[in-house]
Amino acid sequence: MGLFGRGSFSSIIQKIFGKKHAKIGIYGPPNVGKTTLANRILRDWTGDIMGSVSEVPHETRRAKWKKDVKVNNGNSSLFMDIVDTPGISTKVDFKEFMNTYGLSRDEAKRRAKEATEGVIESIKWLEDIDGVLLVMDSTQDPFTQVNVTILGNLEARNLPVLVAANKIDMEDSSPATLKSAFPQHPVVPISALTGYNSDNLYSTMVKHFSKKRKKRRR
């Protein structure tokens, strides 16, 4: 091995120029549009999709991962491993799947069991990512405990967070509320469904996630 080992050389380059490759987790509560956004990003930059979407909460119950997605912003670009994580919640009630969404008892119980495992998996992934795209529903109250907990956790780890204020195609959306609720983080209004303002999201992602940072592990 030469004067610089491979790891140390790349870390020196990273310290000088910032990141060129980052593992980005898409996080948020259930049903805010995480997989719709993951699909949007992949469709725009790879022509692929990440997974199925549904109005029934906890559709994504296992984390899905797409490596080496190159996102451009003018002359700069960033390679990202995109991780679409299951929605984080503090409760999972199988009866909600039955009574609100018409699932059979067995289906509802299986979905609930897998959903609890999915939440644990999402939390485990926090140990292994470089930045977070935190998706929030801009038609809903932003101060949910899940949002507050995830943000506090990421701030404690000193991980960069970009808030995607999703569903701005809906009439009652209020991305301004999200911006005022979390002024310490960049908030980009977006419709993952229609693609509205996705160019702004991509340029902010490249700028924000490329920055050099000292990552804190707890």
Binding site: T90, T116, V119, D141, F143, V148, G152, A156, A181
Partner: protein, 125 residues
């Protein structure tokens, strides 16, 4: 025979009690009480890392017919002042409300007030 009390138990847990416990002990204590149907008001609250661990532990404890998880509401941590920082005082967790999700329901929360509703008829056994 003593008459069975069907009321809802609402417990304020002091800062001293919480500070005397390690993070693991604190989470075990909270989940044990909440699984009994009690609502806890923690004077000191939990750090974001403890809250995340509580969510993880809750998911492991869910029993579909008896325990569907927790309702937890609190505010972000208080940032220390410049002087406090100089003396090494870190961020402090603030008051947090935790209860069983089938009993406690958050109606509204903003930066000044947390409004919750207790679903009647499901009190602590």
């Amino acid at each position: 025979m003593a008459k069975k009390d069907n009321g809802i138990s609402f417990n304020l847990v002091s800062r001293q009690k919480l500070n005397s416990l390690s993070s693991n002990e604190k989470l075990k204590f909270i989940l044990k009480e909440v699984k009994k149907g009690k609502i806890l008001v923690l004077e000191n609250g939990l750090t974001p890392m403890e809250q995340t661990s509580l969510i993880e532990d809750t998911m492991r404890e869910i029993e579909q017919d008896t325990f569907i998880g927790v309702e937890m509401e609190g505010y972000g941590e208080d940032s220390p002042t410049f002087l406090q920082k100089l003396f090494g005082v870190g961020k402090k967790p603030r008051m947090t409300l935790i209860g069983p999700a089938n009993l406690l329901h958050t109606v509204r929360k903003d930066s000044n007030m947390i409004q919750t509703k207790i679903i009647p008829g499901r009190g602590a056994k």
